[in-house]
């Protein structure tokens, strides 16, 4: 069995931090590759699906590089970690860019904080939601191993996921509203925050992923 961890490179943001952080915590026999090659991703033991930028560009790049199927396949069968935009596009649809159809692994919508701001009294709410915020655990999950309830992680985003099925929710965070900051089901874990930029707790989460068997 290959012990490769593939970081999916589809031209959405800088993946150096993700791969360096993984290298920092991976076991000696685990190899980190940054790849846009479908076969390499398919052969990897684990897949990390990062991303930053806009939803429309994200989906367009995935389709142009013909990586959508291999990413979905990985999300069905091996330890899979979505980060930031790599979490959002797992949903059915995003409000961003006047509406974008996403990968539809999970039913639900990606929504804008700006709408909450209009609807609430939170006129001083800054967007993007940028900085260190608390994550409350909603599932007992191996990826939370040795990470305390309400630990802070680094966020930078203007949209958040709103899954239809509440049992998907693995973590929530408050920013004007309580929003879903992590989801998990079977072999998939995905986070809105950036573990690769979240100091010790972020590294711990990545370390947990590196040795996760993909089950709860």
């Amino acid at each position: 069995m290959s012990t490769t961890i593939a970081v999916v490179d589809y031209g959405m943001g800088n993946l150096r931090s993700v791969s360096k952080a993984l290298e920092h915590v991976a076991a000696d026999d685990q190899k980190i590759i940054v790849s846009s090659d479908a076969a390499e991703i398919a052969n990897a033991e684990r897949v990390v699906f990062p991303g930053q930028g806009a939803a429309r560009d994200c989906m367009k790049h995935l389709k142009d590089l013909q990586l959508e199927d291999v990413v979905l396949q990985a999300a069905h069968e091996k330890p899979f970690l979505g980060i930031c935009m790599g979490m959002q596009v797992l949903m059915a649809h995003s409000e961003e860019n006047q509406g974008v159809s996403c990968m539809n692994l999970y039913a639900g919508e990606v929504r804008a904080f700006a709408d909450e701001k209009l609807q609430s009294q939170m006129q001083s709410l800054k967007i993007p939601h940028m900085g260190w915020n608390k994550v409350s655990h909603k599932q007992d999950h191996p990826l939370w191993h040795e990470i305390q309830e309400d630990s802070r992680f680094y966020f930078v985003h203007s949209y958040y996921v709103d899954p239809e099925d509440e049992t998907l929710v693995a973590g929530t965070t408050e920013y004007g509203i309580e929003f879903v900051s992590a989801i998990a089901r079977d072999n998939v874990f995905a986070a809105q925050f950036h573990p690769e930029k979240s100091a010790q707790d972020g590294l711990q989460l990545l370390k947990n992923f590196c040795c996760w068997n993909g089950q709860k």
């Binding site: 943001g13 800088n14 150096r16 931090s17 360096k20 952080a21 920092h24 930053q52 930028g53 806009a54 001083s124 800054k126 967007i127 993007p128 939601h129 940028m130 900085g131 260190w132 915020n133 608390k134 802070r152 680094y154 966020f155 930078v156 985003h157 965070t173 408050e174 920013y175 690769e196 930029k197 979240s198 100091a199 972020g202 590294l203």
Partner: protein, 257 residues
């Protein structure tokens, strides 16, 4: 509000070396930006900003190596500013491991550059640095203008209008420096900080004038800044970042402790 306010130590880097002196007792080479960054990370810095003040463009490649080395072992957000003039500069810094770049003078001379950069790499990577100076006389309604060349050259641009315009062009964050206060150690220009923070929808980092820990807290409480940036009070080890965070928390500010 659970989102923490941020403390951002800033390192001035000239030719790959930290300048303005850093006095940590347990650091082998206080001029080495990698060692200093590692130290700040260990103390709990929420982010680190590097300001490249290298005069010669021939030597600019050195900051790229600094960022690469730091990014290999420090896993918190990194921002690089100074001499960012082209999309190529932006990409080179991000590829080296920076999470954000700060655009300053280039934005004043070519605002379209900010739009181009944010559309290309995303607003979340683009910080616009604003150097403002008070131009109103005593007793008048307070007014600030944008200055370039280290505060020497006025541009005639109103600071609040400029900040709004830069956000409109795609700035994801504003790094606001009061040129009147920079280096004075008498505290931030709080009316300026508050005016800009109230005017824009994106986070504002206050900079310029920090001399003690109350100044940091004032920047958040009175200036309504989302983050505070300081250089010398940390470099000279007057205070550790931990002490600063604890002090701010004691004054009721949400911090990552």
């Amino acid at each position: 509000m659970a989102l923490a306010k941020r403390i951002i130590p800033c390192l001035d880097v000239d030719n790959g070396r930290v300048v303005k002196g850093v006095k940590f007792v347990d650091i082998r080479d206080a001029g080495n930006p990698v060692e200093v960054a590692r130290r700040y990370d260990a103390e709990g810095a929420d982010e680190i900003t590097f300001l490249d003040i290298t005069a010669s463009s021939d030597d600019r490649e050195t900051i790229v190596h600094v960022v690469e080395e730091v990014a290999n072992e420090v896993f918190i957000p990194l921002t690089v500013g100074g001499g960012i003039r082209t999309l190529d500069d932006v990409r080179r810094m991000l590829n080296a491991g920076a999470d954000k770049v700060a655009i300053n003078t280039a934005a004043v001379f070519n605002p379209e550059f900010v739009r181009e950069a944010s559309e290309s790499v995303g607003s979340q990577c683009i910080v616009v640095a604003i150097d403002a100076k008070k131009v109103s006389a005593e007793g008048e309604t307070q007014r600030w203008e944008i200055f370039t060349h280290g505060g020497r050259k006025p541009t005639g641009l109103d600071a609040i209008e400029w900040a709004e315009k830069m956000v409109d062009y795609g700035a994801g964050e504003i790094l606001l420096t009061s040129m009147d206060r920079d280096g004075t150690k008498i505290g931030f220009d709080l009316p300026l900080t508050r005016a800009i923070s109230d005017a824009v929808s994106v986070p504002v980092i206050a900079s310029g004038g920090v001399g003690n820990l109350d100044h940091l807290a004032d920047g958040v409480i009175e200036g309504k800044a989302d983050a505070v940036l300081a250089a010398s009070i940390f470099h000279f080890a007057e205070y550790t970042i931990q002490e600063a965070k604890q002090h701010m928390a004691d004054r009721g500010i949400e911090m990552r402790l």
